[in-house]
């Protein structure tokens, strides 16, 4: 298979040679990652006492990060799944990025559960003594299913590109990479029959990805929803978490679009139009998300069951600024940027997406922590750590390490595969895609 030479060079900027900048950035992330590993070693050595979690707030940063990273994986489900099904053309340059976000965040997310578990050495008990009644078991099954599905889907979308890279004679890469492309392309040559089989498989899998993504995140929400805790015991949690996840995934996609556009000079392929389109999508999702948030808190506040009103009191006093940031600024800002055409610049949209993303992390924080700080029986304790949760450096370090490994994995993948799908881009209607 042949591709436009320029297209190929533009879209695979890091495959042939590695820049110093790449090494420098990678090293910085590696240092952050190493600090996280040191923190983890401390935690394994000394026990969970090194974290800020105690008997009342038994889940802290780790669970928040877990939900957050799992949520990011929605960008793939949305962009590649939904938009694929609807045959949207403009999505093509960003489809690959979205899929990579999905798989990478899906790999990182569960590690935060591992950090949260007291006996990591007994993790395999989940498989040898499973109880189907536990939402954690549902989660284990769902995440594994999701991971496998996303890998298959990602691979399906990569085959054509691997075939192009394999057939591209002038590519200046080591022999092992060429061999890798040869194996991974499965001998795909782009015959009509092959394209038909591949197309069918991709359509089926994109539908599956959407379904399983909804299930995974609902199951995650039910870990909280099935308990009796005030603030968690809510029927709306399943869909609420799903929409929040789509929101965060879309936000991250905009940020990554901006970063890759800047670093790899992809201005020609990722244009303002893409930012505005994804930005509009972000606003629509923000509206849904805001609606769910409002509906959840309104019923709690209006009905004012005692425990609920204690919780809402806490949210509007101790957690006031976080609450306002997460549930007002984080929801309204993207809408304001998109609503006025003159605000719709690439940096503005990116900043709005970044703030929305941060707000979503905070949103998860104020879902998890305040509830655990208001148990049915009041916390009567003299130990401050038992009354209020405060993350320690270990938790911060591991959080930052999670972000670092996300970036590092992205950087590594950009060394062997195109970050924008070549095959999608070289189709005849290229003009239509870009303008």
């Amino acid at each position: 298979m042949q591709a436009d030479n320029k297209l190929l060079k533009d879209l695979t900027p890091e495959i042939e040679n590695t820049s110093y900048r790449w090494y420098a950035v990678f090293f910085i992330f590696l240092v952050f990652f190493a600090i996280g590993i040191y923190g983890l070693i401390q935690q394994i050595d000394k026990g969970h006492i090194v974290t800020g979690m105690r008997d009342n707030v038994v889940w802290g940063f780790y669970i928040v990060n877990f939900i957050f990273f799992m949520g990011l994986s929605y960008s793939g489900a949305l962009i590649s799944g939904v938009l694929h099904l609807f045959g949207t053309q403009w999505r093509k340059p960003i489809i690959r990025m979205a899929e990579l976000i999905t798989v990478i965040s899906l790999v990182i997310g569960p590690f935060f559960i591992f950090f949260c578990i007291g006996r990591l050495d007994r993790l395999y008990f989940l498989f040898i003594y499973p109880r189907i009644q536990s939402p954690i078991t549902w989660d284990v099954i769902a995440i594994m299913t999701d991971l496998v599905g996303c890998f298959i889907y990602l691979y399906l979308s990569f085959i054509e590109d691997f075939a192009i890279l394999r057939d591209y004679a002038d590519l200046n890469v080591p022999e092992w990479k060429k061999k890798l492309y040869r194996i991974l392309s499965l001998g795909f040559t782009g015959t009509e029959k092959q394209l038909k089989i591949l197309g069918n498989a991709r359509t089926i899998m994109s539908a599956m990805i959407i379904a399983i993504a909804i299930i995974v995140y609902s199951v995650l929400a039910w870990i909280f929803g099935v308990t009796l805790q005030p603030g968690w015991h809510s029927t709306i949690f399943g869909p609420y978490f799903v929409i929040a996840a789509v929101y965060s995934g879309t936000g991250l996609l905009i940020i990554l679009m901006w970063i890759f556009r800047k670093i790899y000079h992809l201005e020609e392929y990722i244009t303002r139009r893409h930012f505005v389109n994804v930005g509009v999508l972000l606003t629509v999702i923000a509206a849904f998300y805001g609606y769910f948030t409002f509906s959840d808190y309104l019923t709690k506040w209006y009905g004012s069951i005692k425990m609920d009103s204690i919780l809402i009191d806490k949210l509007f006093t101790e957690y006031y600024s976080l609450f306002i940031f997460a549930n007002y600024i984080g929801i309204l800002l993207p809408g304001i940027i998109i609503a006025f055409p003159k605000f719709r610049t690439i940096p503005n949209i990116t900043v709005a997406a970044a703030i929305a993303l941060l707000a979503l992390w905070v949103n998860r924080y104020i879902i998890v922590i305040p509830t655990l700080e208001t148990p049915f029986l009041p916390i009567q304790d003299t130990r401050p750590a038992w009354i209020n949760y405060a993350p320690t450096w270990v938790e911060w370090a591991l959080t930052i390490a999670g972000v670092s490994i996300f970036a590092m994995l992205f950087m590594l993948i950009s060394k062997i595969a195109p970050i924008i799908s070549i095959s999608e881009m070289q189709e005849k209607d290229k003009e239509e895609i870009l303008h």
Partner: protein
């Protein structure tokens, strides 16, 4: 005559125990432990006479049992040795006074028993004594819709029955940890009395209940009990509390397993389709390669 001293918070006193205590250890040294031996007399349902001694000492207001020490039991005012028994981990030494043993009663028809701990280098000696009168307790259970426990008690003096008038008999049902009191009967001049027994008490799975009538810590008679087993209880249904399939049991509810199976087979079936598609692409590519070779 008899010094009665209730010791500190021993809360559960063994079933029908009489409690006569004598503190002893006159010339105590500084480090020496001052123990207490309590002696109880029990005549049980089979007319066995049992002496029950507990050897303890008090430390920080806690009663601590002394294990592995010999307690000697004596009968009569003349202190005729019956036997010697070593205390167990709870400080208890028990001896049965066989029916063949001759018991000398004093002028009032009272029997005297005593127990003694000889002491050693670190523990003082101590003794205890009980004096009781033999009593015969008769219990009859009658009635169907209204159930009545009828009691009669008398002692024998020179072959004549002397009713135990004015004495209190307690009626109870033994349960797992303690005895559930049903009521108390004060015997009338003829030494008789009766008590209505509740009809709604749970028994075992056949409805059997154990009913104990007894003189408890009676200053004259000591502990005397009569046990009857009767079908007066409501049969307990033990099957109720065990659920096989529930959220909290080992086995999951059926709907859960079915739903999970449907979901998983649906999703993984589609995955299988995708993988088969990949295989088909590979096969197709192979075919192409071979054709090219031939050309």
């Amino acid at each position: 005559m008899i010094e009665i001293k209730k010791t500190l918070p021993i809360r559960i006193i063994l079933l029908s125990a009489l409690f006569f205590t004598t503190l002893c250890g006159l010339a105590q040294e500084k480090e020496k432990i001052t123990p207490t031996v309590t002696l109880q007399y029990l005549k049980n349902s089979e007319d066995q006479r049992i002496l029950h001694a507990v050897l303890t000492y008090s430390k920080d207001r806690m009663e601590i049992p002394l294990q592995g020490f010999g307690i000697s039991f004596f009968k009569g005012t003349g202190k005729e040795l019956v036997t010697s028994v070593v205390t167990d981990s709870k400080g208890i030494a028990t001896v049965e006074i066989g029916k063949d043993q001759k018991l000398a009663s004093d002028s009032k028809g009272m029997w005297t028993f005593s127990s003694e701990f000889k002491g050693n280098d670190t523990i003082d000696a101590c003794t205890a004594e009980v004096t009781v009168k033999d009593v015969i307790l008769e219990v009859s259970l009658t009635g169907d819709s209204i159930r009545t426990v009828t009691l009669r008690a008398f002692s024998l003096e020179n072959g004549k029955e002397v009713p135990a008038k004015g004495e209190v008999v307690k009626v109870g049902v033994p349960r797992m940890f303690s005895q559930l009191p049903i009521g108390e009967v004060t015997l009338d001049d003829s030494g008789s009395g009766s008590l209505e027994f509740p009809s709604d008490l749970p028994g075992d799975k056949d409805g059997n209940l154990t009913i104990i009538a007894k003189f408890e810590e009676n200053p004259t008679f000591g502990n005397v009990e009569k046990i009857n087993i009767v079908k007066w209880g409501i049969p307990s249904d033990y099957t109720k509390p065990t659920v096989h399939r529930a959220l909290w049991t080992k086995v999951a509810p059926r709907w859960m397993i079915i739903t999970l199976t449907i979901l998983l087979s649906g999703v993984w079936g589609h995955y299988l389709y995708a993988v088969i598609s990949l295989v088909r692409i590979r096969i197709d590519a192979r075919k192409k390669e071979k054709e090219e070779h031939r050309l």
